[in-house]
Every structure is written in structure tokens, then in C-alpha cells.
């Protein structure tokens, strides 16, 4: 019931309301007629703005502007309205999942903060390993430039429902007409997905599934099929090996997905025995760089050498050809025979016959190293099918093409044929995570989720069944391939349900789905054992040698870089900035050429006044195809051979600064990584390289990098005055020679209290793979600076891996023997050998207890922590750069510009999506301040706090840094030396332990372990 009571605020209001009226009118000043004068032009022209109004506006705007200027920009952050149970703000959640992008496969742990995946680490329970690419994959998730954001039809946005309707209709029409439809995918290695595809094919019998790998290893798979009746890749248990002979198999790189973990496990000097690894190769590969003995042989020689070895071991005499390396081959034959089942032979030549020969040799040795039962499923691509597909398309036989995360238009040597064929296909649907050439030419584009947004399962090898779970809600309107196919084949179950059902019924046999999901993997038993078929490979070998005999001209070996691989992640700035482990060049691919050939053809790599390296261009032509690439002179490259890496030169949809390198796929004819009859001619123009290291050798400074042979390690006293292999530096004290580290100018601070962190780096175990570099990048929000800046020596990597080549003159003793003058000696020390030995040295802040950088900072912005870190106080730093000059290790990095929110540096820190990868625990540095490795103090502190919360002491070996946990081979060991049980405590006292530049007595908290090589002497 409405009331007509009158409420009044004051007597006035009650009695004479008119007065209040007026008041209330004056309460708000009448509105200024802004529209009449700020409106469109003519109203402005004939506006009735009086001078006084105008002055009012002026006054107001000035005041407003002034006030606005007084306040800094305010960024609103929205707190959780309802806090998700599984998220505690400020505490990271880890999810076990798997990566499978068709080229890289890994069991991983994903670190999420407030629902954002920010880092990828290996899932060590599943023997997972990460490479630089796997580490960087988390950034590709946030690739706002290339990720597809919603389904489109002929470039026009379209709803999922319509897309499904139209495509379904089209498919049905093709089904009725029974015109073949091809589903073209990369290697999926996913049982459930394969099942779904089967069901799809059942629903659409005209569909065939073709698997296409940009980088093919089908030869190996076919060889396996021929010999073991099983199309898969063998696994190599290199940890058990005593002799490893590899003919151009880059098994520390991308050969069969890499075996560095097993390899290094078999090379621990403290166990007293190391595998003896000999590498015959033409390019300087990561594997060759780590080999005990690297024998340079151009591809054709490799093949003949392989055959010769085959003859020597199996006793057959396949017609072959003498090679310059036959002597070594004989030795190897002997060594392998001696090693017997502990020996193994591998070859990276993507040639079925070559692979067969290798398998035959291993068979003859009945090697335990090669595992044909627990085989790898990570390369299922089949060239034959792909070529057939291209033929059919051009013949107009194919009615529909569904592509899933493949980009044949970029990665096929005969891409143009494919393109022509594609025009004849009526229905082309691209299911893809990122935009690319192929997507662009398809009439339907259905965005699929990134693997970090997806459910799924993987089966890399027969034993480990990996599960994939989303770590973030899909960023864009995307849908997984599996859901799409289920939908099209009329199955209404969501893929998650499907997967759960599939796994529980066919894989998990009884054990809990949730446990498996939590662990991210499930181990299966292998039931079937495969036996080699008896048919001989002799004729295969004969064919091989006959083909190879035709070899002429330069021999080109195409390879994949540690950084970019097959080029799927080419738009990932972390990977582009990541320097190649061998050449230390970033943002480029190039033709690697031997010193001799370069001299002959007149190619040079001059060092410019700004420290950067230039190069000349070469026109490389292989049977008709031509590319123009810059030349990088590569010591250790086989004369008469050149190398070129695939995966570069992608341009479609890329920002200008990301379009680097040359696309070498056109030369990758019928997926053979070796091309004969190559001609090279010098063409005009100079290329600007961006190398992070210019000087190639150690220049006789052997207290930086110590190498010893296994024999020495076992028999010689490391401190022996003459033959010692780990001599400390001595100083004269009281006229006595004493170890420098025993005396000190002043009393030492007490470092026994609490934690004291040390990092041990085993140069024997470090393969230089660079996973740690990218991990550090991700953990510490290290900015990407781009090619221009890297070129002038301004890369920001906190952790770099120095690479040193050996020289002809290694020591003063050598020089004496050769009778060189001092100038000549130093010149010799500075110039690398034609075929050098290679050593990698991870280099980051050494956290010296007597840090030269701390002393010289005028504002005490860098000081020493109680836990041994050399700490950098960013907001105190005024940027005198004196610390950097006074750092003997040159590990300090200066912010020359603002690298975040700066259009000059348009990388991940300059767009909203890219910034989602930033680690909230680490500040983004502003311009003008120094930065450097912090020993991941945010991680160690988190560990301490965790222990505190749980009311316990920090466990042994609980402390980790990004680099140490990313390290596949366990070369980096981090820990607390005040805890006697910690691994690092023993390592710090190990007889291999030394400090770089210990003559300076900076007392670093980073310890290096002398590199031990197995020279196979007695």
C-alpha cells in the first residue's frame, strides 16, 4: 500500500519549499555545452561558445590534464570473485602432461601460475627429457600473431555449427560420390586419436589417413619393417654401450628424438668406465662435438665406410670403394668385435639400404644396445603415401583434403606440385593450431587447441603411455581435432569422456585413471618380442654402394638445428634468439663450409669493427633447385661437403623481424638429408650474422677449461706438478709456494650458517644442448632483443654455453716444440684447427664470494647474500656498468633499452598474450639497470618457505634452479653445501672440481668438473 507521507529534511523545506528548490537547482552547476562546440565541424564553426565558456573549457582541460599528469598509469587487476579451489594466488601449480606437436614428443611437467602455464620442465618420473624446443613450447602457446583465433571459411569468420554443417554436407556428398578424401596429419603417436580416426574412416569409407613428417626418418622405419616386420624406430640403450660408432647419426640432436640421457648415463668417469664414442660425419653436429673421436668424412665416404665396416664385421665382401677413413674403420671394426653385444652402430643417412646395413651390423654383433621391442613411434611419416597423394591430387582424383597441423606448402620440396594439386581439390579443410601457408590456401579453417590446452594421450615408445591434460582454458575459439572428428563421425561423446573410456578399457587395465593422469604417464609391459628376419641385406648394400658411386660435386647434408628443428616453432622468439650450440649464431641458418673449400671458393667471415661477423652469399643448386644462402665457415666440416639447416625461412604471417633465414626444404628432395651433385657459386652481397661469440679458441688459457683423458683421470694425481690434469693456482707466501685458495687478505665472512648454495657443472656430461638456456629465459623473464642487437653483442642470456674449438697449437710446450716465436705462438693459439675438438662450457654468474663486481658498485646495488648468491638489486642500480667491466666472466647483462612494452622490440614482451608467459616471481627489468643470473633465488626461497609451511627442514637435494632441473643429463647439480648429504657437497670436493680463473681467487660458488674424454687407451 503506497504511502503519501511527505518526508522533509529541514524546516525550510517544509515551510517554503521554493527556496530549497532553488538551492537544489544550484546544487549542480549546469552542464557546459561541450557538444555544441566539440561536436562536428560546422556546429563548431557556428557554435555559440562565449569567450567566458571558452576560458572555462581551457581552464578545465588544463586543470584536468595537469591532474591526469600527476598520476602514474593505473593498471586494474581483477581479483578472483570466487577463488578456484585448486589455485592459491602466488603458489605455482604443476601439471603432468605430454607434448606432441608432430616433431617434438616429451613427458613434461607444466608450471602454472594463476591459471597460466609459464614453464615446461621434464617429467623425470617418466624419464622425460626436454630440449630447448620443448622448453620454449610454452611461449608458442601465447603466439598471438600466428595462433588461429576462430573458424573461418574462405577468410570469412564462420560459426562452429555452420562450419560443421557445411563440411559435414560436403563430406557426405563426397561419400556418396565415393571420391577419396585424405586426412593428412603429422605423426600423432596417440592411440586414442588413431582409434577415432579409424572410426571416422568407418563413418566415411572414402577417407584415407596419410601421415607426413616434415623431417622424415621413414628410411629407418622402412628398414625396421623390412627386417623386423614392424614399422617403427629402434631405441638405443646407449647407457649400456661400451663402443658407439655413428655414421652421421646426430643422436644427441634430433636422430630418433635424441638419446642424450642414455648416452651420458654411460659416460660417468667416476664409475671407472665410459663408452667409447666415434663419430664419422661431415657436418659438425652436436653429437660429433661430444664424441671421443670425431672422424671427418663426407656423406659418400660415410656410406662406403659403413659398407666397409659391414664387410669387416660380417665377413661379406660387398663391392665398395676405398675411403680416406678406412684405417679408422678397421680400428672400429676391431673395437666393435671386441665390444660384441656392448657395441652399436648407427647411421643418420635417411636411406633405407643404409639403415638396413646398420641394422645388419648390430644384428651381427647381436647388440643389446639397439632395442627393437620397445620401439619409438615418434616418426611414422611415409614419403611413398605423400608422393602418391600429390600424384592423385594433380590427377584430380582427390575430392577432399583435411590437413591437421602440417604445412606441406612450406615443408615439401615439391610444394608447388602440391599447391597445384590442391587447386583441384574441391573440399580443403585445415585443422591447425597456427596460421601458415597451407592453412591460408584451405577453404575451411578450423582452429585446433594447443597441446597445453588439450586432452590427449601419447605413445612415444611401446612402454610409456603418456597422458595429456589441459593446463589452461583455450585462449581462443578452438576445438581439438579429436572432438571435431568425433562430431563428424556422429559420435556425441566429448573427447575427454572418450579418452577416459579408451584409456581405462584398453590401456590402464584396472589401475586408476586419476593416478595415471596425475603422473602424466602409465607404464605398460611389452608382450610381443620381435625377431629379425633372416633375409640378407647384401643386395641392399650392393644397391647402396652402386647409387653412391654416382656421387659427384659437392655433397650437401641437410640437418635440423637444436633451436628450430623442423621449423614448427619458427615464430618463437626464444628459439630464434637461442644461439646455435656449434656456431653460436642466432636468428639465422647458413651454409656450413670447410675452411679449405672456403679458401678455395673465396668465402670469408670477416669480423667488423663493432665485433659482429659478416658473410658472403652462395648460390646452392641441387638438380635444378636453387637457393641463395650466406656461408658460415665451419671448422670440422668435411672437405667437399656443405651443411644447411632446415626449418628456417618461414615468412607467412610472420612479423618482419621474425622473417630470418632461408627455406632449405626445396633442396630436401625425396626427403633425403643427403644430396649429391651440388654446385656452389659465390654471389654478390654480404650477410650480417648475429653471433654471440667471435673468438673460437681458448687461446691457451687452460685454467678456464680443463680436459683430461679417462686414463689420466684414473692413474694420474690431479695436482701432480708435471702431469697433473687439475692443477690449482699457486702463489708465493712467506717465500713458499702455496695453493692460492689457502691464503686470504682478510678474515672471511662466516658462511657456515644456514644454507649456502653451490652449483656444480660437469663438463663431461654437458652436451651443449641448451635446454638450460631456454629454461633460464623462461624462468627469469629474460628479454629477447632481436637480431640487430644480438649482432652488436647485446644478447641478454643470463646463462650462455661457450663453445671452444681446439687449435693446432694448444700449449706453450707445443709452441716450444714447433719452435715458434711468442707472437707466432699466440697466433697459433688463437686460430682454430681444421678439424678441432669441441668443448662446451655453460657460463653464468659464478656468484663469487669475493666478487669483483660487488666491490666496485658505488651505490651498493650488488652485494653478497647470506646464502652465497651474488645479489643484484635492480631498483638500486644506477647503471654505471663498472661491475660488468670488472667481471672476469662477463656474465652481467645491461638493459640498453626498455625491452618490454617497446615497439622497437616487438617480441613476446610487447603484446598482451606474450606477456602471459612472464614469471610473476621475477621482476621485468627496466632500462638502464644491470641484470644477471640470480641462482634462481625465487625458487630457492620458495623451497625454503614450502619446508617452513610444512614445518620441516629442507630435504636433501630439494633445492633446484631452472637450469639444473631442465638439464637432461644431470650435468648441472644445484644444492646446499652446508648440508653434508646434498650431492653438490661431495661434488664441490671432487678431484675433478675446479673454479674458472681460480688464479684470481674470486672464490666462486659455481664449480666446474673437469671434462673427461675416453681416448680408448689401454
Amino acid at each position: 500500500m503506497a504511502s503519501d507521507k511527505k518526508y522533509w529534511k529541514s524546516v525550510e523545506e517544509l515551510t517554503n519549499s521554493s527556496f530549497v528548490e532553488t538551492l537544489s537547482k544550484n546544487e549542480f552547476v549546469q552542464e557546459i555545452a561541450t557538444d555544441t562546440f566539440l561536436g562536428d565541424k560546422e556546429t563548431l564553426a557556428n557554435s555559440s561558445t562565449s569567450r567566458r565558456d571558452f576560458l572555462k573549457y581551457v581552464g578545465f582541460t588544463t586543470a584536468a590534464a595537469t591532474l591526469a599528469a600527476c598520476e602514474g598509469p593505473v593498471k586494474k587487476s581483477i581479483p578472483y570473485v570466487v577463488k578456484p579451489n585448486d589455485i592459491i594466488a602466488g603458489v605455482a601449480d604443476w601439471y603432468a602432461t605430454s607434448m606432441a606437436d608432430g616433431y617434438d614428443f616429451a613427458n613434461i611437467l607444466v608450471k602454472t601460475r594463476e591459471g597460466r602455464p609459464i614453464q615446461i620442465m621434464p617429467n623425470k618420473d617418466a624419464n622425460g627429457t626436454t630440449s630447448a624446443r620443448v622448453q620454449a613450447a610454452v611461449l608458442s602457446l601465447y603466439d598471438e600473431k600466428l595462433r588461429l583465433k576462430n573458424p573461418t571459411k574462405a577468410g570469412e569468420k564462420i560459426s562452429w555449427i555452420d562450419a560443421d554443417k557445411e563440411i559435414g554436407a560436403a563430406l557426405n556428398k563426397l561419400k556418396e560420390a565415393n571420391t577419396p578424401v585424405v586426412l593428412l596429419t603429422g605423426t600423432l603417436a596417440s592411440p586414442s586419436t588413431e582409434r577415432i580416426i579409424q572410426e571416422f574412416i568407418v563413418a566415411y569409407p572414402n577417407v584415407t589417413h596419410v601421415i607426413y613428417d616434415a623431417i622424415s626418418e621413414s628410411a629407418a622405419a622402412d628398414a625396421m619393417l623390412a627386417m623386423y616386420g614392424k614399422r617403427a624406430l629402434p631405441k638405443y640403450h646407449l647407457d649400456k654401450a661400451s663402443v658407439i660408432v655413428s655414421f652421421g647419426a646426430d643422436f644427441l640432436g634430433d636422430f630418433h628424438g635424441g638419446f642424450e640421457k642414455q648416452y651420458v648415463a654411460g659416460r660417468k668417469p667416476e664409475t671407472g668406465s665410459m663408452s667409447y664414442h666415434v663419430q664419422f660425419e661431415s657436418n659438425m653436429s652436436l653429437t660429433g662435438a661430444n664424441a671421443d673421436k670425431r672422424i671427418v668424412a663426407k656423406p659418400s665416404d660415410q656410406i662406403f665406410a659403413l659398407i666397409n665396416l659391414f664387410n669387416a664385421i660380417t665377413g661379406s665382401n660387398v663391392p665398395s670403394q676405398a675411403t680416406p677413413v678406412d684405417a679408422q674403420v678397421k680400428q672400429m671394426a676391431a673395437a666393435l668385435k671386441k665390444a660384441g653385444s656392448k657395441g652399436v652402430v648407427m647411421t643418420g643417412i635417411n636411406e633405407k639400404n643404409a639403415q638396413l646395413v646398420a641394422l645388419a651390423i648390430n644384428n651381427a654383433l647381436n647388440s643389446e644396445i639397439i632395442d627393437v621391442n620397445n620401439t619409438l613411434n615418434i616418426r611414422q611419416g611415409n614419403e611413398a603415401d605423400v608422393n602418391q597423394l600429390i600424384k592423385d591430387m594433380n590427377a584430380g582424383k582427390v575430392g577432399g583434403l583435411l590437413t591437421y597441423n602440417v604445412n606441406p606448402l612450406y615443408s615439401l620440396p615439391n610444394a608447388t606440385e602440391f599447391a597445384n594439386g590442391l587447386k583441384k581439390v574441391s573440399l580443403t579443410v585445415a585443422l591447425s593450431t597456427e596460421n601458415n601457408e597451407t592453412v591460408n590456401t584451405s577453404n575451411y579453417v578450423l582452429p585446433t587447441s594447443h597441446f597445453l590446452e588439450s586432452w590427449g594421450d601419447t605413445q612415444f615408445d611401446e612402454m610409456t603411455y603418456g597422458l595429456m591434460q589441459p593446463t589452461i582454458q583455450p585462449l581462443f575459439s578452438t576445438r581439438q581435432l579429436q572432438d571435431t572428428l568425433l562430431g563428424w563421425s556422429g559420435n556425441t561423446t566429448k573427447y575427454y569422456e572418450y579418452l577416459k573410456g579408451f584409456a581405462s578399457t584398453t590401456i590402464l587395465n584396472g589401475s586408476s585413471w586419476n593416478t595415471a593422469l596425475h603422473n602424466g604417464f602409465f607404464t605398460r609391459e611389452i608382450t610381443t618380442a620381435t625377431i629379425a628376419s633372416e633375409n640378407s641385406v647384401t643386395d641392399a648394400a650392393i644397391q647402396l654402394s652402386n647409387i653412391t658411386k654416382k656421387a659427384s660435386g659437392f655433397e650437401l647434408q641437410l640437418y635440423t638445428k637444436t633451436g628450430l628443428g623442423d621449423g614448427k616453432q619458427a615464430n618463437n622468439p626464444w628459439l630464434q634468439e637461442f644461439p646455435d650450440p656449434i656456431t653460436r649464431a642466432s636468428w639465422d641458418n647458413y651454409l656450413t663450409m670447410s675452411i679449405a673449400d672456403a679458401k678455395q671458393l673465396g668465402f670469408t667471415n670477416p669480423v667488423k669493427d663493432n665485433g659482429a661477423i659478416d658473410g658472403d652469399y652462395a648460390k646452392v643448386s641441387v638438380n635444378g633447385k636453387e637457393v641463395i644462402v650466406p656461408v658460415m665457415i665451419q671448422p670440422g666440416q668435411a672437405k667437399g661437403s656443405v651443411g644447411l639447416s632446415l626449418g628456417f625461412g618461414r615468412t607467412f604471417g610472420f612479423k618482419e623481424e621474425m622473417q630470418v633465414g632461408v627455406n632449405a626444404y626445396p633442396l630436401y628432395v625425396n626427403a633425403n638429408n643427403i644430396q649429391f651433385g651440388v654446385t656452389i657459386e659465390k654471389v654478390s652481397g654480404t650477410h650480417q650474422f648475429a653471433c654471440t661469440q667471435v673468438q673460437k679458441t681458448i687461446a691457451g688459457r687452460h685454467d678456464i677449461l680443463k680436459v683430461a683423458s679417462l686414463k689420466e683421470y684414473k692413474s694420474v694425481d690431479p695436482k701432480d706438478h708435471h702431469h697433473g690434469w687439475n692443477k690449482p693456482s699457486y702463489v708465493s707466501y712467506d717465500h713458499k709456494e702455496v695453493e692460492a685458495n689457502t691464503i686470504d687478505l682478510w678474515d672471511e665472512h662466516n658462511r657456515e650458517l644456514g644454507h649456502h648454495f653451490n652449483l656444480s657443472i660437469d663438463l663431461t656430461s654437458c652436451t651443449g644442448c641448451g635446454a638450460c638456456v631456454v629454461a633460464c629465459h623462461a624462468e627469469n623473464n629474460v628479454p629477447v632483443v632481436g637480431k640487430r642487437e644480438v649482432r652488436v653483442g647485446r644478447d641478454m642470456h643470463w646463462l650462455r654455453i661457450d663453445r671452444y674449438y681446439s687449435s693446432e697449437v694448444e700449449t706453450r710446450e707445443d709452441a716450444k716444440e714447433l719452435g715458434l716465436s711468442r707472437a707466432e705462438m699466440y697466433e697459433g693459439l688463437e686460430t682454430e684447427a681444421e678439424n678441432p675438438e669441441v668443448t662446451f662450457q655453460p657460463m653464468m654468474c659464478q656468484h663469487c664470494n669475493h666478487a669483483p663486481c660487488e666491490t666496485v658498485c658505488p651505490v651498493a646495488a650488488t652485494t653478497h647474500g647470506r646464502q652465497g648468491q651474488n645479489q643484484m638489486t635492480y631498483n638500486r642500480c644506477v647503471g654505471t656498468r663498472y661491475c660488468a667491466n670488472n667481471c672476469p666472466y662477463r656474465v652481467r647483462r645491461f638493459n640498453w633499452f626498455n625491452y618490454a612494452n617497446n615497439n622497437e622490440f616487438d617480441f613476446n614482451m610487447n603484446n598482451e598474450y606474450g606477456k602471459m608467459v612472464l614469471n610473476p616471481d621475477v621482476v621485468v627489468r627496466s632500462r638502464g639497470v644491470m641484470e644477471k643470473c640470480s641462482m634462481c633465488i625465487q625458487m630457492t626461497q620458495a623451497t625454503i618457505l614450502k619446508a617452513k609451511k610444512e614445518g620441516r627442514a629442507v630435504n636433501t637435494d630439494e633445492f633446484e634452479t631452472a637450469c639444473s632441473s631442465a638439464c637432461t643429463t644431470g650435468a648441472l647439480v644445484f644444492g646446499d653445501v652446508n648440508n653434508r648429504q646434498d650431492k653438490v657437497t661431495a661434488l664441490a670436493k671432487d678431484k675433478r672440481a675446479y673454479n674458472v680463473l681460480d688464479y684470481l681467487q674470486t672464490k666462486p660458488n659455481v664449480i666446474y668438473q673437469v671434462k673427461i674424454k675416453n681416448t680408448n687407451e689401454a
Binding site: 669480423v607 667488423k608 669493427d609 663493432n610 665485433g611 667471435v694 673468438q695 681458448i698 691457451g700 688459457r701 678456464i704 642487437e789 652488436v792 653483442g793 647485446r794 644478447d795 650462455r800 661457450d802 663453445r803 671452444y804 711468442r822 707472437a823 699466440y826 693459439l829 662450457q841 657460463m843 669483483p852 666491490t855 666496485v856 658498485c857 658505488p858 651505490v859 651498493a860 638500486r876 642500480c877 644506477v878 647503471g879 654505471t880 656498468r881 663498472y882 660488468a884 667491466n885 670488472n886 672476469p888 666472466y889 662477463r890 652481467r892 647483462r893 645491461f894 638493459n895 640498453w896 633499452f897 632500462r927 638502464g928 639497470v929 644491470m930 674458472v996 680463473l997 684470481l1000 674470486t1002
Partner: protein, 487 residues
């Protein structure tokens, strides 16, 4: 008369001069109009200065990245210029302090300008430590001032902080020393001034100096004590600057002979710059009779001496680099490594300009020639710049780890800022030459009778320096404004 001086000694003041003449000569440039040359020089320097300021603003606005530095070479032109300018800034105080202690009369004609040069040079020097910072707007953090962070102080272990104290002390002390000396001369100008504005200004500048006997007594005492303080100070400044390098651990920097060697080098370059400036100034302000061949020769002698010390230091450095046989020492800025490396050109230009060319001064003819010593002084200025560049760039370009060997190439900003400071320097000096008494008249007058040519001649003829008493007509004089002009 003031103390006796042997008549065979060359006169320091030429021509038939009386006290009044001196006054006239020194006041002329101030009271007169500037000639065309002055304006030309001034505008050129002004343009250079503005260009330099532009480059500085660009640097501060964009980031140090606009310079040619890199992760391995954190300093190059910035600190090179800093040390160069500081070095130049050593002659002035040295002349006025050390030579005063040694009672060197010849200093009197040049010390005013030398000190002016010192102060202006130290201005330039002071610029670089500030603009070379990544965040110059926080430069004041190097001062030990209480702050909102509580116990956050500076780091007294850092040579850079020693620099802060040394440079600021040096600059301020030189300034008061100079100014105190200027007071009587300002007073003189003030008393002669006819234009009211000019009179106002100079009476302000002269702090109301009246020349009372007691003031003169204190004045002389103060100058003496200041000289006593400034002498070790001047030596300490470059010692400390040298410690920026000497206390570091870079091979080639970490060298115990740096302090004396740097000081010698500083005096060397300082005198060279004085030589350069006076060579111009004596012409422009026609002070030929006060700044004589004798002065030039004396300065050249100092240059040979200090140049010799520097040369010996170079030799020592080179020898040690060779003698240690250490692979780290092999590439120091004075070594075979440097002579054969990418910076050989800088290495040899250092030897040419700093060692070879100055040797010409052994010949009396050259030593006493204005033109020759002018040219040589320029050469030395260049050479000393190269010395600093070599020390910094070459050493940093070959660090401990071969993987960090790099090179430096200046950008137009590097060059622009350097040019700018030279412009700034000359702007200040030219303004000074027009508005300040460029010669310490009060001091010169005290030696007129002992070392003036005119009086020397007379005393040779046995005529006493004391004139016959002349009775002055008071009325006639009373129109004169001032009491203390005793002409």
C-alpha cells in the same frame, strides 16, 4: 722593493711598463668590444655545444644503447672522455699551487687562465660519469645522503665513489682558490668601471674587496695554505681516477704504476692544453708582453719532463706485459697483442702523438717557437685521448674469457657528445676571456720591478727602482672615483 733578481735573468714582463699600463692592458679586453674572430669562435663552439646537448638528451631519452657499447665492453668513449678532461683539468691548480709553493714567478702571468681552464675542463669531465649512467636521474644516489630506505648508504669500497669525492672536492676547492685570487682584480675592474651596470656586476663579483692591509695579509696566507692543500689534492685526484682501473682485475688495468703514471700524464696533457689556449689567448687579448717566449719555454720544459715520465711508464707497462709471459697480459693495451691486434692503429697513434712528437721539444728553437709549441700541444692532446681510449677499449675488448672477446665502434652519438663537450669548454673559456681579468694583475704587479724588462734595464744602469717623490695635487685627483688606485 720586492726581492732581488739577477738582471741576467730574462724578463717576464716585456716593454716599458708601469703599474698603470698593466692595469690598462688587463682591463682592455673587458672594457673594450669583442672583435670578429671572437664572435666567430664563439658561435662555432656554441653550435658544437648545442649539438652535444642534443646527443645527450637523445641518450637520456632513449637509453645507453644508442652508444656503441656491448655486453663485453661496458665503457668506451664516455670514460675515455671523462679521464681525458680530468687530466686536462690538472694543469691549472698545479700551476697556481705547486708553482706558488716553489715560488715560481712565471706562473703569475698564466695561472689565472690555467685555473679557469681547469675549472671548465672539470665541468666537462663531471658530465660523463653522470650521463654514462643507465639511469642518470638517479645520479644523486652516489651521495651519502639519508633516504627513505633507512640504512641504505653508498659503498665506500668503490673507486667510483672515491671519484665522486675526489672530483667534487677538486672542483670546489679549485673554484674558491680561483675566485679568491680574482677578488682584487674584480675590485680593480669595478673601480675603473664607468657603466653603472658593469659597476654593479663587478662590485657583486668582487665581494666588496677594498684591499686593506690586513686583508692582503690574510689573502696571502690563505693563498699559501690553499696552495699547500691543493698540491696533494691535485695529485690525489688523478691517482684516484687511475684507481678506477688499477683496483680492477682486468689484465692491463690492474697495474700498480697507474697512480704516478696517470698523474704525470694528467700534467702532461694539462700543460699541453694550457699551451694551446694561451697560444690563442695571448693573440686575441694581446697579452704578448705578459705571456712571453719564456713562459712558453718553461711550460714546454714541464711537458718534456712529464712526457718523459709517461714514456717510461709506457715502456714499463710494455715490458711487464712481455715479462710476465701470462697469456692474460699478452693483450694489454701496451703489448705485442695490441700492436698486432685490431686496435694497432690506436696503439701506434698513441706512441706517435705522446712519445715521438713531444721529443721535438728538446730543441731550444722549437721549444721557444709559439707556432711549433702550439702544434705540438695539439698533438699531445690527441695522444693523451688515445692513451685513455687504448686503456679502456683495448683492455675490455680482450677479457679473461676468449668467448667474450669483442670490439667497439662509436656511434654518431658517442662522437656528438665528445664534440659537444669541446664546444661547451670553449664557450665557457671565450666568455671568460671577455669578462674576467685574464691575468692576475695584483700578482703581476708585485713582480714588475723585479722581473719587468723596463726596470731590469734601469737597474742595469744602476737607476733605483724607487721614483723621486712627486707631490700630487689632491683637488685634481679627487674627481677620481677610487682611493686605492695608486697611479
Amino acid at each position: 722593493m720586492s726581492h732581488y733578481e739577477a738582471p741576467i735573468r730574462e724578463p717576464l714582463i716585456l716593454g716599458d711598463k708601469s703599474y698603470h699600463d698593466i692595469t690598462e692592458d688587463i682591463a682592455k679586453p673587458i672594457e673594450g668590444k669583442a672583435n670578429k674572430n671572437w664572435y666567430m669562435a664563439f658561435y662555432i663552439s656554441l653550435a658544437a655545444m648545442l649539438w652535444g646537448f642534443g646527443c645527450i638528451f637523445y641518450t637520456v631519452g632513449t637509453g645507453i644503447g644508442v652508444w656503441g657499447l656491448s655486453k663485453n665492453i661496458g665503457w668506451a668513449w664516455d670514460i675515455t672522455n671523462f679521464v681525458w678532461w680530468v687530466g686536462i683539468g690538472h694543469a691549472g691548480t698545479l700551476i697556481s699551487a705547486v708553482l706558488l709553493l716553489f715560488r715560481q714567478k712565471w706562473r703569475m702571468a698564466i695561472n689565472r687562465s690555467a685555473e679557469a681552464m681547469t675549472i671548465f675542463a672539470v665541468f666537462q669531465a663531471g658530465l660523463f660519469p653522470i650521463i654514462h649512467m643507465g639511469r642518470p636521474w638517479n645520479a644523486f644516489w652516489v651521495l651519502p645522503i639519508p633516504n627513505q630506505f633507512g640504512s641504505l648508504w653508498v659503498n665506500f669500497n668503490s673507486p667510483l665513489l672515491w671519484d665522486v669525492f675526489a672530483i667534487s672536492t677538486y672542483l670546489s676547492v679549485s673554484l674558491v682558490f680561483w675566485w679568491t685570487g680574482l677578488l682584487p682584480d674584480f675590485a680593480m675592474i669595478r673601480d675603473r668601471a664607468v657603466k653603472p651596470f658593469q659597476k654593479k656586476i663587478y662590485s657583486l663579483l668582487s665581494f666588496g674587496w677594498s684591499g686593506r692591509a690586513k686583508d692582503w695579509q690574510r689573502f696571502e696566507e690563505v693563498s699559501l695554505v690553499l696552495a699547500g692543500l691543493a698540491t696533494p689534492l691535485v695529485l690525489s685526484v688523478h691517482t684516484i681516477v687511475s684507481m678506477d682501473f688499477a683496483t680492477s682485475i682486468n689484465p692491463g688495468w690492474h697495474s700498480t704504476i697507474f697512480p704516478p703514471y696517470f698523474v704525470a700524464g694528467a700534467i702532461f696533457s694539462g700543460f699541453a692544453m694550457v699551451q694551446t689556449l694561451l697560444g690563442i689567448m695571448r693573440k686575441v687579448t694581446n697579452m704578448e708582453e705578459y705571456i712571453t717566449r719564456l713562459h712558453v719555454e718553461y711550460m714546454n720544459i714541464v711537458i718534456i719532463l712529464t712526457g718523459g715520465i709517461v714514456a717510461v711508464a709506457y715502456a714499463t707497462e710494455f715490458f711487464i706485459a712481455w715479462y710476465t709471459g701470462s697469456p692474460y697480459e699478452y693483450y694489454t693495451y701496451l703489448s705485442v697483442g695490441a700492436a698486432t691486434g685490431p686496435y694497432a692503429w690506436a696503439f701506434y697513434s698513441l706512441l706517435l702523438f705522446n712519445i715521438a712528437i713531444p721529443q721535438l721539444l728538446w730543441f731550444k728553437k722549437i721549444r721557444r717557437s709559439f707556432i711549433a709549441s702550439f702544434i705540438i700541444s695539439i698533438a699531445i692532446n690527441i695522444g693523451m685521448w688515445f692513451e685513455r681510449f687504448d686503456i679502456i677499449a683495448i683492455v675490455l675488448s680482450k677479457g679473461h674469457l676468449p668467448s667474450t672477446w669483442w670490439r667497439f665502434e662509436p656511434t654518431f652519438v658517442d662522437v656528438g657528445i665528445f664534440i659537444g663537450t669541446i664546444g661547451f669548454f670553449f664557450v665557457l673559456f671565450l666568455l671568460y676571456a671577455r669578462t674576467f681579468p685574464v691575468i692576475a694583475q695584483a700578482e703581476v704587479k708585485t713582480i714588475l720591478k723585479s722581473s719587468g724588462e723596463f726596470y731590469k734595464k734601469r737597474s742595469e744602469q744602476g737607476i733605483p727602482t724607487k721614483p723621486a717623490i712627486v707631490v700630487l695635487d689632491v683637488e685634481k685627483r679627487s674627481d677620481k672615483s677610487d682611493k686605492n688606485d695608486t697611479e
